[in-house]
């Protein structure tokens, strides 16, 4: 007992030392990158019009946040994302569950779904704009299309990967179809569903932003394109970084939830 504990502790110490080393080197690398980015234009080696600088991006960010209209862009983009991605979950999960349960339907619908999955979903932008116009509807649709396919495919895979004996066992204890669904299938496939949601999330964010960059009247992507065409790299980079931070934060939140699920399962 004591021995295993000391072995465990040694391993633990080694791991935490490695973790500390990793954090140190990663931080140093990022700091070096930021320093070069800040100093290179000052020495005149590169033109700040093309690369901007961290200090300029921060100044631009302050400018943008304190001026009016910023909240409007954020709320337009957020609303497009929330509606499109919410619809993707609301439709992708139930359809995926059904396809996982019924092989006939699955075999029937699998080829078209795979064809859409293999196609870059942003290629659908022009036709969606023709159908729905340049307002919010077209971005909602692109976010939906981007998000729904990974959710659907992973939900289906999750249901199919379930241990058959669990269902048989539940049935032999007189569980109704509804009980089997709610108490076995749904919780059992939850890890795959959240994986699908995580994969779909970044595609939905991309859909909203690129949709706004392509044709729009407002939103973060709209501003990215506008400042790009005005050569204002500092403003442009602030918006790009803001979008990236949102995407990373949302993905990380789902990942944390996912890890909780896995540990809860054990």
């Amino acid at each position: 007992m004591k021995l295993t504990r000391s072995i465990y502790l040694t391993a633990h110490n080694a791991t935490s030392r490695l973790c500390a080393q990793r954090t140190l080197i990663s931080t140093l690398a990022v700091a070096a990158f930021l320093a070069v980015w800040e100093l290179a234009p000052r020495t005149g080696a590169v033109d700040a019009t093309f690369t901007s600088q961290p200090s300029r991006v921060i100044a631009a960010g302050w400018d943008i946040v304190t001026s009016g209209g910023f909240l409007n862009d954020v709320s337009v983009s957020l609303a497009e994302f929330a509606i499109g991605f919410g619809l993707a979950i609301a439709i992708g999960v139930p359809v995926g569950l059904v396809l996982g349960r019924f092989p006939f339907l699955r075999n029937l619908l699998d080829p078209p779904i795979m064809a859409i999955y293999a196609t870059p979903h942003l290629a659908l932008l022009p036709i969606i704009v023709v159908w729905l116009g340049i307002g919010m509807q077209s971005k909602i649709a692109v976010a939906f299309v981007g998000g729904v396919i990974p959710i659907l495919v992973n939900t289906t895979a999750g249901v199919r990967g379930l241990e058959r004996s669990w269902i048989v066992a539940a049935r032999s204890f007189c569980a109704s179809s509804w009980d089997v669904f709610v108490k076995v299938i749904l919780p059992g496939s939850l890890p795959s569903i959240t994986l699908g949601i995580r994969l779909g999330l970044s595609r939905a964010v991309l859909g909203v932003v690129v949709g706004e960059m392509y044709q729009s009247q407002a939103g973060l992507g709209n501003k990215v394109m506008r400042y790009g065409s005005e050569f204002r790299t500092d403003y442009l980079l602030f918006y790009v970084l803001l979008i990236s931070v949102f995407g990373l934060a949302a993905t990380t939140a789902v990942r944390v939830f996912e890890e909780k699920l896995w540990t809860a399962g054990k």
Binding site: F33, L108, A115, T119, P120, P126, I127, S202, V205, S244
Partner: protein, 254 residues
């Protein structure tokens, strides 16, 4: 056994056929307006017309050229970076935050800055394709190298393998399946880069033509180009999946 394997294929083809038939007849019966959705027969006619006039060939050649350069670069740089990171821990730790950022940030939002750097057109499209697929390939390569069975490495070392032998005879073959799965995932991302890059600013290519015809509201021509992109996406992904299965076939499950 064969009968069971055939069934999904038959059903799949049937579902495509039914969809095309439903689309065509919905238009013919006047239920939907062909201005918005076009119809399969018109799309087929457009495809054969553009194939004859050389327009399709030209667009394909431009898009494929951009794809080949961008994706090719990302294979070389991605595998190199992944292998170096796997071999040297410092490089792995230093690259990690950048790879992670490139992998998960919506990179296409950087498009305007590429235009400022490289100008509108082919170089920007190539840069986008490269930047989208490179982190995927690097991450998979790193993963593959790191998951090589340490017993194999110890055994090779015990028999006097040099660093070079380890790379060529142990690490590389053992990590090939992971690398190829990275290449497969990278294809989709590179294709996305090409199409979106062309959507925004190009003078030729498949993405350009869907955007161009979209602007003119010529849905038939738009859908024809879209169909070509769908077919390319499916073919390339299927091709790499087949390659993956082939390279993985030597592995014995224990």
């Amino acid at each position: 056994m064969d009968g069971w394997k055939m069934k999904p294929v038959v059903l799949g083809i049937a579902s495509f056929a039914v969809m095309l038939l439903a689309w065509e007849s919905a238009v013919r019966l006047g239920w939907v307006n062909p201005f918005f959705v076009s119809q399969p027969s018109a799309v087929a006619a457009t495809l054969s017309r553009t194939a004859k006039s050389g327009e399709l060939e030209h667009n394909l050649a431009v898009s494929f050229g951009e794809f080949a350069v961008g994706y090719g670069l990302s294979i070389v740089v991605g595998i190199l970076a992944g292998a170096l990171a796997a071999r040297f821990r410092t490089i792995e730790y230093a690259l990690d935050p950048f790879l992670w950022f490139l992998y998960s940030a919506p990179l296409i939002a950087f498009y305007p800055i590429f235009v400022i750097w490289f100008g509108l057109g082919v170089p920007t499209v190539i840069a986008l394709a490269f930047l989208l697929s490179f982190p995927q390939i690097a991450a998979s390569t790193l993963n593959g190298f790191q998951n090589v069975n340490p017993g194999l490495i110890r055994a090779a070392r015990a028999f006097g393998a040099t660093e070079r032998d380890l790379l060529w005879k142990v690490a590389l073959p053992a990590s090939v399946p992971m690398v190829i799965s990275g290449l497969r995932l990278g294809i989709g991302r590179a294709l996305m880069g090409v199409v979106v890059g062309e959507l925004f600013g190009a003078t030729a290519g498949l993405g350009y033509s869907i955007s161009y015809y979209g602007g003119l509201l010529k849905t038939t021509d738009l859908i024809a180009s879209l169909a070509v992109i769908v077919v390319l996406g499916v073919l390339s992904t299927q091709g790499l999946s087949a390659l993956e299965a082939r390279f993985d076939s030597w592995r014995v499950n224990d």
